[in-house]
């Protein structure tokens, strides 16, 4: 598994792509924090400009995180299946190790990206709020596990691109809608998606952690049943 984690992680982090993502997230976080300082979304932080910048980072990842993670890594599993590279992996290690390795690589990449952005924002604002970062990492684990499950479920690259874009847009829309909606089915989504727990009820992030495990287990079962 270690080999797969290193290979996939290096593949993601290497090159200009990761630098651009860090710069984009950091820049937009600071800009968002400045322009949204008086927004009702930042009521708690509005008295403290430094905290607003950190909240801006979370806000950007909440809004665009799903789209970023899913579109960047939607083919983390199916790419190797389509290119027939997976056979060489599964003859050397267990199928759960392949899935777990891919998940850890995607998650680790986003953990590092968010950490770098967090350190940059903290350096600029001279504030360090660790719990924001931990919540963000749970949220990124949620997205990474969806990404791996999606990539195991949908073998065709073109379909997984479309699905990743749709899901990347739908997740934050439904997540934020559920926070303010009084319609029961939509309101129920607040307990399934990590947006409400991150914002209002951090204890509910345990549900998100459980969901990560469920998605990974589903990906493993799907992968185990595939003839490759």
């Amino acid at each position: 598994m270690k080999g797969i984690v290193i290979k996939e992680f290096v593949g993601l982090i290497r090159g200009i792509k990761s630098i651009l993502i860090v710069l984009f997230i950091t820049g937009i976080s600071i800009l968002a924090a400045r322009s949204l300082r008086n927004s009702p979304l930042f009521m708690d932080e509005s008295s403290n400009p430094s905290a607003t910048a950190l909240a801006g980072l979370s806000f950007i990842l909440v809004i665009f995180g799903a789209l970023f993670v899913l579109t960047l890594s939607h083919d983390i599993v199916n790419r190797d299946i389509q290119l027939q590279r997976i056979r060489l992996l599964i003859t050397k290690t267990s199928r759960p190790s392949v899935i777990l390795g891919k998940f850890l690589a995607v998650w680790l990449f986003w953990v590092i990206v968010s950490l770098i952005s967090f350190v940059l924002v903290s350096f600029i604002t001279r504030t360090f709020v660790i719990h924001e970062l931990l919540f963000l990492w749970i949220y990124l684990a949620f997205l990474s596990s969806i990404c791996v499950m999606l990539s195991t479920l949908v073998i065709h690259h073109a379909y997984s691109v479309i699905l990743s874009v749709l899901l990347g847009l739908a997740l934050p829309i439904f997540g934020i809608w559920s926070m303010f909606s009084s319609v029961v089915p939509i309101r129920a989504l607040r307990y399934l998606l990590p947006y409400y727990p991150m914002s209002e009820q951090p204890a509910l992030l345990l549900v998100t952690v459980a969901e990560v495990l469920v998605f990974l287990a589903a990906a493993v079962v799907l992968f185990q049943r595939k003839d490759l």
Partner: protein
């Protein structure tokens, strides 16, 4: 000791039974080949044995370990699957290190370099695989199958796409591995290659094993008559006619094309009598060649059947 035991193994797809109830076993250190035309079920069989495909039914025991513990077995086997691809942006040595890490075995550079050298990629260690020819990719595939000193190696068409020299090198490598006690299970279309390096052969047709055994056993089962060709020289024509008349009495069929005579015999005990008759008729014999049934003959007969 058995390295591999396969019992009533089947693989069924929606529209087709690719492998139908096959059973066989391999002794440790044996080189075993699975033969068959395209679509006979060779690759499906090797893919099931190596964990790529899940069998529909049947049992497999690899290196005294049941198939359900396949994950434990993976460190002890090596596999060259039929259609496999590589990471074009990685070099040959980077691939070897990566596969060694994935397999959870030593990734020492010198031993991995040795493996690449053994398949003839010693001068291409640092080249990106994207620049490799099909033959070089095949060699890399064989090298990666040897990572971690496997006890049993599955090779699907190991010499296809290789040039004559490289194919010879791989055949020698397979023979060397077998002499070290490593069991080899392979498929090939090259019948001459199989004749040279394999101890036993199974012929697969429509997912079923039609014939199985050592090459000698297959030849014996296939042989209906003995064909010999004698190169001779007669001192005079009357003696030659006399000898040929005696041959007609001894053999099933005689065809004379001087200085050769082709004779079909029912049993090999007649051969000394033919020589004796030649001596008595003052016929000088330069050579006696017995036609051996080739694996190709056996295979083609199975296909026609």
């Amino acid at each position: 000791m058995k390295a591999l035991i396969v019992n009533k193994l089947s693989k069924e797809y929606k529209t087709k039974k690719a492998v139908d109830d096959i059973s066989f076993s391999l002794e440790t250190g044996e080189v075993f080949a699975l033969l068959g035309r395209n679509g006979a079920g060779k690759s499906t069989t090797i893919n099931m044995l190596s964990g790529i495909l899940t069998p529909t039914s049947g049992t497999i025991e690899i290196l005294n370990t049941p198939y359900r513990h396949m994950n434990k077995i993976k460190q002890r086997i090596g596999v060259l699957p039929d259609n496999s691809n590589y990471y074009n942006e990685m070099t040959a040595i980077q691939h070897m290190k990566f596969f060694a890490r994935v397999k959870g075995v030593s990734a020492r550079k010198d031993s991995l370099v040795d493996l690449l050298e053994s398949v003839g990629l010693g001068e291409d260690l640092g080249r990106k695989v994207g620049q490799f020819s099909l033959g070089m990719r095949k060699k890399l595939g064989i090298a990666q199958a040897l990572i971690g000193s496997p006890e049993l190696i599955f090779l699907d068409e190991p010499t296809s796409t290789l040039d004559v020299e490289s194919a010879l090198q791989i055949r020698q490598l397979i023979s060397t591995l077998a002499s070290q006690g490593i069991t080899i299970f392979m498929t090939s279309h090259n019948l001459e290659e199989i004749e040279r390096i394999c101890d036993r052969v199974a012929i697969l047709n429509h997912g079923k094993i039609e014939k199985m055994g050592t090459l000698e056993q297959l030849r014996e089962a296939h042989t209906r008559s003995i064909n010999i060709t004698i190169k001779y020289q007669a001192s005079d024509q009357s003696q030659e006619s006399l000898w040929l008349d005696r041959l007609q009495q001894m053999a099933g069929a005689v065809q004379c094309k001087p200085p050769y005579v082709e004779i079909e015999l029912d049993e090999e005990e007649v051969i000394p009598e033919i020589v004796q008759a030649a001596v008595e008729c003052k016929i000088r014999i330069y050579s006696i060649e017995r036609e051996r049934v080739s694996l190709e003959n056996i295979f083609l007969d199975e296909k026609l059947a």
